[in-house]
Amino acid sequence: MISYRNVSKKYNGLEAVSDFSLEIENGEFFGLLGPNGAGKTTLIRMTTTLTPITQGEIYVDGEPIDRDLTAIKQKFGIVPQYSTLENDLTAWENLELHGRFYGIAKNTRRERIEELLEFTELTDRRNDTAGTFSGGMQRKLMIAKSLMHGPQIMLLDEPTVGLDAASRRKIWDLMRRMNEDGLTIFLTTHYLDEAEALCSRVGMIDLGKLVMLGNPSEIISQTGKFALEYFKEGTTHQELFEEKEPAMEAAKLLQCDFKIRETNLEDAFILITNKGFGA
Protein backbone atom coordinates (compact mmCIF):
# COMPACT_ATOMS: atom_id res chain seq x y z
CA MET A 1 0.00 0.00 0.00
CA ILE A 2 1.22 3.51 -0.81
CA SER A 3 0.00 6.39 1.35
CA TYR A 4 0.55 9.98 0.44
CA ARG A 5 -0.03 12.24 3.42
CA ASN A 6 -0.30 15.94 2.65
CA VAL A 7 2.57 15.75 0.20
CA SER A 8 3.83 18.98 -1.37
CA LYS A 9 6.70 19.74 -3.70
CA LYS A 10 8.01 23.20 -4.42
CA TYR A 11 10.55 24.03 -7.10
CA ASN A 12 11.77 27.53 -6.21
CA GLY A 13 8.39 29.03 -5.59
CA LEU A 14 6.47 26.89 -8.09
CA GLU A 15 4.24 24.40 -6.33
CA ALA A 16 4.33 21.30 -8.54
CA VAL A 17 2.43 19.11 -6.08
CA SER A 18 0.22 20.65 -3.47
CA ASP A 19 -1.11 19.04 -0.28
CA PHE A 20 -1.66 15.71 -2.02
CA SER A 21 -3.22 12.89 0.01
CA LEU A 22 -4.13 9.47 -1.35
CA GLU A 23 -4.00 5.78 -0.45
CA ILE A 24 -3.39 3.13 -3.07
CA GLU A 25 -4.38 -0.34 -1.90
CA ASN A 26 -2.51 -3.53 -2.63
CA GLY A 27 -3.65 -5.21 -5.83
CA GLU A 28 -5.33 -2.08 -7.09
CA PHE A 29 -5.10 -0.81 -10.68
CA PHE A 30 -4.92 2.91 -10.04
CA GLY A 31 -4.65 5.60 -12.67
CA LEU A 32 -3.54 9.15 -12.05
CA LEU A 33 -4.80 11.43 -14.77
CA GLY A 34 -3.71 14.94 -15.45
CA PRO A 35 -2.68 17.35 -18.21
CA ASN A 36 0.92 18.30 -19.02
CA GLY A 37 2.63 19.87 -16.06
CA ALA A 38 -0.01 18.70 -13.57
CA GLY A 39 2.60 17.12 -11.30
CA LYS A 40 2.27 13.42 -12.17
CA THR A 41 5.96 12.82 -12.80
CA THR A 42 6.90 14.86 -9.76
CA LEU A 43 4.69 12.64 -7.63
CA ILE A 44 6.23 9.46 -9.02
CA ARG A 45 9.73 10.88 -8.62
CA MET A 46 9.07 11.65 -4.98
CA THR A 47 7.75 8.12 -4.48
CA THR A 48 10.90 6.62 -5.96
CA THR A 49 13.09 8.98 -3.89
CA LEU A 50 14.53 10.70 -6.95
CA THR A 51 13.23 14.05 -5.76
CA PRO A 52 13.06 15.06 -2.11
CA ILE A 53 9.63 15.84 -0.68
CA THR A 54 9.18 19.47 0.38
CA GLN A 55 6.42 18.72 2.87
CA GLY A 56 4.37 15.71 4.00
CA GLU A 57 5.20 12.01 3.96
CA ILE A 58 4.99 9.03 1.67
CA TYR A 59 4.64 5.58 3.24
CA VAL A 60 4.93 2.21 1.59
CA ASP A 61 3.35 -0.59 3.62
CA GLY A 62 3.59 1.64 6.66
CA GLU A 63 7.24 2.63 6.25
CA PRO A 64 8.40 6.09 5.23
CA ILE A 65 10.40 6.10 2.00
CA ASP A 66 14.12 6.88 1.93
CA ARG A 67 16.81 6.72 -0.75
CA ASP A 68 18.91 4.29 1.22
CA LEU A 69 16.01 2.09 2.32
CA THR A 70 16.60 -0.88 0.09
CA ALA A 71 13.68 -3.01 1.33
CA ILE A 72 11.11 -0.59 -0.07
CA LYS A 73 12.96 -0.16 -3.32
CA GLN A 74 12.84 -3.93 -3.85
CA LYS A 75 9.04 -3.69 -3.82
CA PHE A 76 8.86 -1.16 -6.62
CA GLY A 77 8.91 -1.88 -10.33
CA ILE A 78 9.47 1.45 -12.00
CA VAL A 79 8.91 2.52 -15.59
CA PRO A 80 9.80 6.21 -15.82
CA GLN A 81 8.51 8.57 -18.49
CA TYR A 82 11.80 8.38 -20.41
CA SER A 83 14.21 5.54 -21.02
CA THR A 84 16.78 4.77 -18.34
CA LEU A 85 18.33 1.99 -20.40
CA GLU A 86 22.06 1.70 -20.94
CA ASN A 87 22.19 2.41 -24.66
CA ASP A 88 25.58 0.75 -25.13
CA LEU A 89 24.36 -2.47 -23.56
CA THR A 90 22.25 -5.11 -25.29
CA ALA A 91 18.71 -5.96 -24.20
CA TRP A 92 20.04 -9.02 -22.41
CA GLU A 93 22.82 -7.08 -20.71
CA ASN A 94 20.40 -4.39 -19.55
CA LEU A 95 18.29 -7.02 -17.84
CA GLU A 96 21.35 -8.77 -16.46
CA LEU A 97 22.63 -5.49 -15.02
CA HIS A 98 19.29 -4.79 -13.40
CA GLY A 99 19.27 -8.30 -11.93
CA ARG A 100 22.71 -7.74 -10.47
CA PHE A 101 21.75 -4.37 -9.02
CA TYR A 102 18.80 -6.01 -7.30
CA GLY A 103 20.94 -8.83 -5.96
CA ILE A 104 19.15 -11.66 -7.78
CA ALA A 105 21.04 -14.97 -7.72
CA LYS A 106 22.59 -15.98 -11.01
CA ASN A 107 20.33 -18.93 -11.90
CA THR A 108 17.11 -17.12 -11.08
CA ARG A 109 18.41 -14.09 -12.91
CA ARG A 110 19.12 -15.97 -16.11
CA GLU A 111 15.74 -17.75 -16.03
CA ARG A 112 13.93 -14.51 -15.36
CA ILE A 113 15.64 -12.80 -18.30
CA GLU A 114 14.45 -15.52 -20.68
CA GLU A 115 10.90 -15.32 -19.34
CA LEU A 116 10.75 -11.56 -19.58
CA LEU A 117 12.27 -11.36 -23.05
CA GLU A 118 9.57 -13.82 -24.04
CA PHE A 119 6.85 -11.87 -22.20
CA THR A 120 7.78 -8.64 -23.96
CA GLU A 121 8.46 -10.34 -27.32
CA LEU A 122 12.07 -9.19 -27.44
CA THR A 123 13.72 -12.60 -27.52
CA ASP A 124 15.06 -12.24 -31.06
CA ARG A 125 16.44 -8.76 -30.35
CA ARG A 126 18.25 -9.84 -27.19
CA ASN A 127 21.72 -9.18 -28.56
CA ASP A 128 21.01 -5.77 -30.05
CA THR A 129 22.04 -2.70 -28.09
CA ALA A 130 19.19 -0.79 -26.50
CA GLY A 131 20.25 2.39 -28.28
CA THR A 132 19.18 0.84 -31.60
CA PHE A 133 15.65 0.01 -30.38
CA SER A 134 12.51 1.82 -31.50
CA GLY A 135 10.53 3.77 -28.92
CA GLY A 136 8.03 0.95 -28.46
CA MET A 137 10.72 -1.67 -28.05
CA GLN A 138 12.57 0.46 -25.52
CA ARG A 139 9.37 0.85 -23.55
CA LYS A 140 8.85 -2.90 -23.58
CA LEU A 141 12.42 -3.46 -22.46
CA MET A 142 11.88 -0.93 -19.69
CA ILE A 143 8.87 -2.92 -18.56
CA ALA A 144 10.82 -6.18 -18.69
CA LYS A 145 13.56 -4.52 -16.65
CA SER A 146 11.13 -3.22 -14.06
CA LEU A 147 9.74 -6.73 -13.59
CA MET A 148 13.11 -8.48 -13.20
CA HIS A 149 13.20 -8.50 -9.42
CA GLY A 150 9.58 -9.54 -8.89
CA PRO A 151 8.20 -6.23 -7.62
CA GLN A 152 4.88 -5.87 -5.78
CA ILE A 153 4.05 -2.34 -6.80
CA MET A 154 4.40 -1.06 -10.36
CA LEU A 155 4.87 2.65 -10.94
CA LEU A 156 4.39 3.46 -14.61
CA ASP A 157 4.73 7.06 -15.77
CA GLU A 158 2.88 7.52 -19.06
CA PRO A 159 3.99 4.15 -20.40
CA THR A 160 2.14 4.45 -23.71
CA VAL A 161 3.08 7.97 -24.80
CA GLY A 162 4.38 8.09 -28.34
CA LEU A 163 3.44 4.52 -29.20
CA ASP A 164 1.32 3.39 -32.12
CA ALA A 165 -2.08 1.82 -31.50
CA ALA A 166 -0.85 -1.77 -31.65
CA SER A 167 2.09 -1.22 -29.28
CA ARG A 168 -0.20 0.66 -26.96
CA ARG A 169 -2.61 -2.29 -26.77
CA LYS A 170 0.33 -4.58 -26.22
CA ILE A 171 1.44 -2.54 -23.21
CA TRP A 172 -2.12 -2.44 -21.92
CA ASP A 173 -2.18 -6.24 -22.04
CA LEU A 174 1.14 -6.43 -20.23
CA MET A 175 -0.20 -4.19 -17.47
CA ARG A 176 -3.44 -6.15 -17.21
CA ARG A 177 -1.53 -9.40 -16.87
CA MET A 178 0.70 -7.91 -14.18
CA ASN A 179 -2.37 -6.80 -12.27
CA GLU A 180 -3.94 -10.26 -12.65
CA ASP A 181 -0.77 -11.69 -11.17
CA GLY A 182 -1.48 -9.64 -8.06
CA LEU A 183 0.71 -6.60 -8.66
CA THR A 184 -0.45 -3.19 -7.56
CA ILE A 185 -0.42 -0.82 -10.51
CA PHE A 186 0.02 2.91 -10.24
CA LEU A 187 -0.22 4.34 -13.71
CA THR A 188 -0.06 7.96 -14.77
CA THR A 189 -1.48 9.00 -18.09
CA HIS A 190 -3.03 11.89 -19.90
CA TYR A 191 -5.06 9.57 -22.07
CA LEU A 192 -8.49 9.37 -20.54
CA ASP A 193 -9.52 6.38 -22.63
CA GLU A 194 -6.53 4.52 -21.24
CA ALA A 195 -7.58 5.15 -17.66
CA GLU A 196 -11.15 4.26 -18.49
CA ALA A 197 -10.18 1.00 -20.13
CA LEU A 198 -7.72 -0.18 -17.50
CA CYS A 199 -8.17 1.31 -14.08
CA SER A 200 -10.43 0.26 -11.26
CA ARG A 201 -9.98 3.67 -9.67
CA VAL A 202 -8.74 6.96 -11.02
CA GLY A 203 -7.60 10.21 -9.52
CA MET A 204 -7.37 13.45 -11.40
CA ILE A 205 -4.61 15.88 -10.69
CA ASP A 206 -4.50 19.44 -11.92
CA LEU A 207 -1.98 22.11 -10.95
CA GLY A 208 -0.60 19.75 -8.31
CA LYS A 209 -3.92 19.17 -6.59
CA LEU A 210 -6.03 16.04 -6.49
CA VAL A 211 -9.32 17.30 -7.89
CA MET A 212 -11.29 14.08 -8.26
CA LEU A 213 -11.19 10.48 -7.12
CA GLY A 214 -13.41 7.51 -7.87
CA ASN A 215 -14.02 4.61 -10.19
CA PRO A 216 -14.36 5.56 -13.84
CA SER A 217 -17.98 4.52 -14.36
CA GLU A 218 -19.10 6.32 -11.20
CA ILE A 219 -17.36 9.47 -12.28
CA ILE A 220 -18.86 9.25 -15.74
CA SER A 221 -22.38 8.67 -14.45
CA GLN A 222 -22.05 11.64 -12.11
CA THR A 223 -21.09 13.71 -15.09
CA GLY A 224 -24.19 12.75 -17.07
CA LYS A 225 -24.51 9.93 -19.60
CA PHE A 226 -24.71 11.91 -22.83
CA ALA A 227 -22.79 14.77 -24.29
CA LEU A 228 -23.94 17.09 -27.03
CA GLU A 229 -20.97 18.47 -28.89
CA TYR A 230 -21.01 21.19 -31.54
CA PHE A 231 -18.73 23.71 -33.18
CA LYS A 232 -19.92 27.28 -33.28
CA GLU A 233 -18.25 30.69 -33.53
CA GLY A 234 -14.80 29.20 -33.58
CA THR A 235 -14.99 26.97 -30.50
CA THR A 236 -16.20 23.52 -29.58
CA HIS A 237 -19.05 23.52 -27.09
CA GLN A 238 -20.22 20.67 -24.93
CA GLU A 239 -23.36 20.17 -22.94
CA LEU A 240 -23.96 17.19 -20.72
CA PHE A 241 -27.30 15.43 -20.25
CA GLU A 242 -28.68 12.65 -18.06
CA GLU A 243 -30.87 11.22 -20.84
CA LYS A 244 -30.69 11.09 -24.59
CA GLU A 245 -34.02 12.87 -25.35
CA PRO A 246 -33.19 16.25 -23.79
CA ALA A 247 -29.90 16.17 -25.67
CA MET A 248 -31.80 15.65 -28.95
CA GLU A 249 -34.18 18.46 -28.06
CA ALA A 250 -31.29 20.83 -27.45
CA ALA A 251 -29.61 19.74 -30.66
CA LYS A 252 -32.69 20.62 -32.73
CA LEU A 253 -32.32 24.26 -31.70
CA LEU A 254 -28.79 24.42 -33.03
CA GLN A 255 -28.04 25.93 -36.41
CA CYS A 256 -24.93 23.86 -36.99
CA ASP A 257 -23.50 20.34 -37.16
CA PHE A 258 -23.57 18.46 -33.89
CA LYS A 259 -22.78 15.08 -32.37
CA ILE A 260 -24.46 13.26 -29.53
CA ARG A 261 -22.30 10.68 -27.82
CA GLU A 262 -21.85 8.86 -24.55
CA THR A 263 -19.81 10.75 -22.01
CA ASN A 264 -16.30 9.77 -20.99
CA LEU A 265 -13.71 10.75 -18.41
CA GLU A 266 -12.65 13.72 -20.45
CA ASP A 267 -16.07 15.28 -20.06
CA ALA A 268 -15.82 14.76 -16.33
CA PHE A 269 -12.47 16.39 -16.28
CA ILE A 270 -13.64 19.36 -18.31
CA LEU A 271 -16.63 19.74 -16.04
CA ILE A 272 -14.44 19.79 -12.97
CA THR A 273 -11.60 21.93 -14.15
CA ASN A 274 -13.44 23.95 -16.80
CA LYS A 275 -10.85 23.16 -19.37
CA GLY A 276 -9.82 20.42 -21.75
CA PHE A 277 -6.60 18.50 -22.01
CA GLY A 278 -4.01 20.33 -24.00
CA ALA A 279 -2.19 17.27 -25.19
Binding site: T48, T49, L50, T51, P52, R67, D68, T70, A71, K73, Q74, F76, I78, P80, Y82, S83, T84, L85, E86, N87, D88, L89, E93, L97, H98, R100, F101, Y102, G103
Partner: protein, 242 residues
Protein backbone atom coordinates in the same frame (compact mmCIF):
# COMPACT_ATOMS: atom_id res chain seq x y z
CA UNK B 1 27.68 -8.26 -5.02
CA UNK B 2 26.11 -4.87 -5.85
CA UNK B 3 29.60 -3.44 -5.88
CA UNK B 4 30.49 -5.97 -8.55
CA UNK B 5 27.36 -5.12 -10.50
CA UNK B 6 28.57 -1.55 -10.96
CA UNK B 7 31.99 -2.73 -12.07
CA UNK B 8 30.49 -5.41 -14.32
CA UNK B 9 28.80 -2.72 -16.39
CA UNK B 10 32.03 -0.71 -16.63
CA UNK B 11 33.76 -3.89 -17.75
CA UNK B 12 31.20 -4.64 -20.48
CA UNK B 13 31.51 -1.12 -21.84
CA UNK B 14 35.29 -1.29 -21.65
CA UNK B 15 35.36 -4.62 -23.45
CA UNK B 16 33.20 -3.20 -26.20
CA UNK B 17 35.31 -0.09 -26.67
CA UNK B 18 38.73 -1.17 -25.57
CA UNK B 19 40.45 -0.42 -28.84
CA UNK B 20 39.35 3.22 -29.01
CA UNK B 21 39.96 3.59 -25.27
CA UNK B 22 43.45 2.22 -25.64
CA UNK B 23 44.25 4.26 -28.71
CA UNK B 24 43.17 7.51 -27.10
CA UNK B 25 45.05 6.59 -23.95
CA UNK B 26 48.22 6.18 -25.97
CA UNK B 27 48.19 9.20 -28.27
CA UNK B 28 48.57 12.07 -25.75
CA UNK B 29 51.28 10.52 -23.58
CA UNK B 30 53.13 9.30 -26.64
CA UNK B 31 53.36 12.86 -27.95
CA UNK B 32 54.60 14.05 -24.57
CA UNK B 33 57.17 11.31 -24.49
CA UNK B 34 58.35 12.14 -27.98
CA UNK B 35 58.52 15.88 -27.33
CA UNK B 36 59.91 15.92 -23.82
CA UNK B 37 61.56 12.56 -23.53
CA UNK B 38 63.08 11.84 -26.86
CA UNK B 39 63.27 15.43 -28.14
CA UNK B 40 64.64 17.13 -25.05
CA UNK B 41 65.54 14.18 -22.89
CA UNK B 42 69.19 13.60 -23.57
CA UNK B 43 70.19 17.20 -24.09
CA UNK B 44 68.70 18.60 -20.89
CA UNK B 45 69.05 17.42 -17.35
CA UNK B 46 67.33 18.28 -14.10
CA UNK B 47 69.74 18.19 -11.19
CA UNK B 48 71.50 14.88 -11.53
CA UNK B 49 69.08 13.02 -13.75
CA UNK B 50 68.33 13.21 -17.43
CA UNK B 51 65.16 15.03 -18.35
CA UNK B 52 63.65 11.79 -19.63
CA UNK B 53 63.95 10.15 -16.22
CA UNK B 54 62.55 13.29 -14.69
CA UNK B 55 59.57 13.67 -16.98
CA UNK B 56 58.26 10.10 -17.28
CA UNK B 57 56.83 9.91 -13.73
CA UNK B 58 55.32 13.36 -14.33
CA UNK B 59 53.61 12.20 -17.51
CA UNK B 60 52.32 9.06 -15.83
CA UNK B 61 50.94 11.02 -12.87
CA UNK B 62 49.29 13.64 -15.03
CA UNK B 63 47.70 11.24 -17.46
CA UNK B 64 46.42 8.88 -14.83
CA UNK B 65 44.97 11.92 -13.11
CA UNK B 66 43.20 13.29 -16.15
CA UNK B 67 41.91 9.85 -17.17
CA UNK B 68 40.60 8.98 -13.71
CA UNK B 69 38.98 12.36 -13.42
CA UNK B 70 37.69 12.70 -16.97
CA UNK B 71 36.24 9.25 -17.51
CA UNK B 72 34.11 9.28 -14.41
CA UNK B 73 33.19 12.97 -14.49
CA UNK B 74 31.90 12.70 -18.05
CA UNK B 75 30.23 9.33 -17.58
CA UNK B 76 28.33 10.43 -14.50
CA UNK B 77 27.51 13.74 -16.12
CA UNK B 78 26.15 12.09 -19.26
CA UNK B 79 24.27 9.43 -17.33
CA UNK B 80 22.60 12.15 -15.28
CA UNK B 81 21.80 14.65 -17.98
CA UNK B 82 21.30 12.73 -21.20
CA UNK B 83 20.90 9.04 -20.58
CA UNK B 84 19.10 9.25 -17.24
CA UNK B 85 20.68 5.94 -16.29
CA UNK B 86 21.86 7.57 -13.09
CA UNK B 87 18.23 7.69 -12.04
CA UNK B 88 17.94 3.96 -12.53
CA UNK B 89 20.74 3.58 -10.00
CA UNK B 90 19.14 5.92 -7.51
CA UNK B 91 15.87 4.04 -7.79
CA UNK B 92 17.54 0.65 -7.36
CA UNK B 93 18.20 -0.83 -3.94
CA UNK B 94 21.93 -0.22 -4.12
CA UNK B 95 23.28 1.78 -1.18
CA UNK B 96 24.61 5.12 -2.31
CA UNK B 97 27.92 4.48 -0.56
CA UNK B 98 28.35 1.16 -2.34
CA UNK B 99 27.58 2.79 -5.65
CA UNK B 100 29.96 5.67 -5.02
CA UNK B 101 32.87 3.50 -3.96
CA UNK B 102 32.30 1.11 -6.87
CA UNK B 103 32.07 3.88 -9.43
CA UNK B 104 35.18 5.58 -8.06
CA UNK B 105 36.98 2.24 -8.23
CA UNK B 106 35.91 1.89 -11.86
CA UNK B 107 37.31 5.33 -12.67
CA UNK B 108 40.55 4.57 -10.84
CA UNK B 109 40.95 1.31 -12.75
CA UNK B 110 40.69 3.21 -16.00
CA UNK B 111 43.38 5.59 -14.76
CA UNK B 112 45.58 2.64 -13.87
CA UNK B 113 45.00 1.09 -17.27
CA UNK B 114 46.21 4.30 -18.90
CA UNK B 115 49.21 4.43 -16.56
CA UNK B 116 50.15 0.86 -17.45
CA UNK B 117 50.00 1.63 -21.15
CA UNK B 118 52.14 4.72 -20.75
CA UNK B 119 54.66 2.72 -18.76
CA UNK B 120 54.83 0.12 -21.51
CA UNK B 121 55.26 2.82 -24.15
CA UNK B 122 57.89 4.65 -22.14
CA UNK B 123 59.97 1.50 -21.90
CA UNK B 124 60.55 2.06 -25.60
CA UNK B 125 62.42 5.24 -24.77
CA UNK B 126 63.84 4.57 -21.42
CA UNK B 127 64.50 1.44 -19.46
CA UNK B 128 65.61 2.46 -16.02
CA UNK B 129 62.26 3.15 -14.36
CA UNK B 130 61.90 1.30 -11.09
CA UNK B 131 58.44 0.02 -10.47
CA UNK B 132 58.12 -1.27 -6.93
CA UNK B 133 55.23 -1.67 -4.53
CA UNK B 134 55.66 1.92 -3.39
CA UNK B 135 55.33 3.21 -6.96
CA UNK B 136 52.16 1.17 -7.47
CA UNK B 137 50.59 2.24 -4.18
CA UNK B 138 51.17 5.91 -4.90
CA UNK B 139 49.79 5.54 -8.40
CA UNK B 140 46.70 3.72 -7.13
CA UNK B 141 46.09 6.43 -4.55
CA UNK B 142 46.48 9.11 -7.19
CA UNK B 143 43.92 7.42 -9.44
CA UNK B 144 41.45 6.99 -6.60
CA UNK B 145 41.77 10.59 -5.43
CA UNK B 146 41.08 12.02 -8.88
CA UNK B 147 38.37 9.51 -9.63
CA UNK B 148 36.59 10.62 -6.44
CA UNK B 149 36.99 14.25 -7.49
CA UNK B 150 35.66 13.35 -10.95
CA UNK B 151 32.65 11.66 -9.35
CA UNK B 152 31.86 14.81 -7.37
CA UNK B 153 32.27 16.99 -10.45
CA UNK B 154 30.04 14.66 -12.48
CA UNK B 155 27.25 15.03 -9.96
CA UNK B 156 27.55 18.73 -9.17
CA UNK B 157 28.10 20.08 -12.65
CA UNK B 158 24.98 20.40 -14.70
CA UNK B 159 26.15 20.85 -18.25
CA UNK B 160 28.75 19.66 -20.67
CA UNK B 161 30.00 23.20 -21.19
CA UNK B 162 30.64 23.70 -17.48
CA UNK B 163 32.44 20.38 -17.35
CA UNK B 164 34.73 21.57 -20.13
CA UNK B 165 35.43 24.70 -18.06
CA UNK B 166 36.42 22.69 -15.02
CA UNK B 167 38.76 20.69 -17.19
CA UNK B 168 40.42 23.71 -18.73
CA UNK B 169 40.58 25.83 -15.58
CA UNK B 170 41.40 23.18 -13.00
CA UNK B 171 42.62 19.93 -14.44
CA UNK B 172 44.77 21.22 -17.30
CA UNK B 173 46.61 23.85 -15.18
CA UNK B 174 47.27 21.23 -12.53
CA UNK B 175 48.67 18.90 -15.17
CA UNK B 176 51.33 21.45 -15.98
CA UNK B 177 51.96 23.18 -12.69
CA UNK B 178 52.30 20.35 -10.20
CA UNK B 179 55.92 19.62 -10.84
CA UNK B 180 55.09 17.30 -13.70
CA UNK B 181 57.21 18.83 -16.44
CA UNK B 182 59.55 21.07 -14.46
CA UNK B 183 60.58 21.27 -10.78
CA UNK B 184 58.54 23.47 -8.46
CA UNK B 185 61.62 25.37 -7.21
CA UNK B 186 61.40 27.53 -10.32
CA UNK B 187 58.30 29.13 -8.78
CA UNK B 188 58.24 31.96 -6.22
CA UNK B 189 58.17 30.52 -2.70
CA UNK B 190 54.46 31.21 -2.00
CA UNK B 191 53.29 29.61 -5.21
CA UNK B 192 55.57 26.64 -4.71
CA UNK B 193 54.07 25.97 -1.28
CA UNK B 194 50.54 26.29 -2.65
CA UNK B 195 51.24 23.83 -5.45
CA UNK B 196 53.16 21.54 -3.13
CA UNK B 197 49.97 20.89 -1.16
CA UNK B 198 48.03 19.62 -4.20
CA UNK B 199 47.59 15.86 -4.50
CA UNK B 200 49.13 15.64 -7.97
CA UNK B 201 52.33 17.26 -6.73
CA UNK B 202 52.57 14.68 -3.97
CA UNK B 203 52.12 11.89 -6.47
CA UNK B 204 54.77 13.25 -8.81
CA UNK B 205 57.18 13.76 -5.95
CA UNK B 206 56.69 10.25 -4.60
CA UNK B 207 56.88 8.56 -8.00
CA UNK B 208 60.15 10.33 -8.64
CA UNK B 209 61.96 9.89 -5.39
CA UNK B 210 60.65 6.47 -4.38
CA UNK B 211 61.54 4.98 -1.01
CA UNK B 212 65.01 6.54 -1.06
CA UNK B 213 63.58 9.78 0.30
CA UNK B 214 63.69 9.69 4.14
CA UNK B 215 60.21 11.24 4.36
CA UNK B 216 58.79 8.87 1.74
CA UNK B 217 55.70 8.02 3.82
CA UNK B 218 54.53 11.61 3.78
CA UNK B 219 53.12 11.74 0.24
CA UNK B 220 51.04 8.55 0.40
CA UNK B 221 49.66 9.74 3.71
CA UNK B 222 48.64 13.09 2.28
CA UNK B 223 47.07 11.33 -0.71
CA UNK B 224 45.19 8.97 1.60
CA UNK B 225 43.78 11.92 3.53
CA UNK B 226 42.67 13.55 0.29
CA UNK B 227 41.07 10.27 -0.73
CA UNK B 228 39.13 9.87 2.51
CA UNK B 229 37.89 13.45 2.40
CA UNK B 230 36.81 13.34 -1.24
CA UNK B 231 35.28 9.89 -0.93
CA UNK B 232 33.14 10.92 2.05
CA UNK B 233 32.16 14.07 0.24
CA UNK B 234 31.27 12.05 -2.86
CA UNK B 235 29.01 9.70 -0.87
CA UNK B 236 27.30 12.61 0.82
CA UNK B 237 26.69 14.37 -2.48
CA UNK B 238 25.45 11.18 -4.08
CA UNK B 239 22.86 10.75 -1.33
CA UNK B 240 21.51 14.21 -2.06
CA UNK B 241 21.80 14.29 -5.84
CA UNK B 242 18.64 15.23 -7.69
Amino acid sequence: MRFNAVLWKEWIVFRRKWLSITMSAVVGPLLYLIAFGWGLGNTVSVGEVSYTSFVIPGIIAMNSMSTSFGVIANDINISRIYGKTFEAIMMSPIQMRTFTVARVTGGALRGLYTATIILLVSFLFHRDITIDAYFVIVLVLNCFVFSAIGFIAGILINSHADMAKVTSFVITPMSFLCGTLFPLDRFPKVLAIAFESLPLTQTVKALRSGVSDPSYLMSPMILAIYLIVFMLLAIRICRRAE
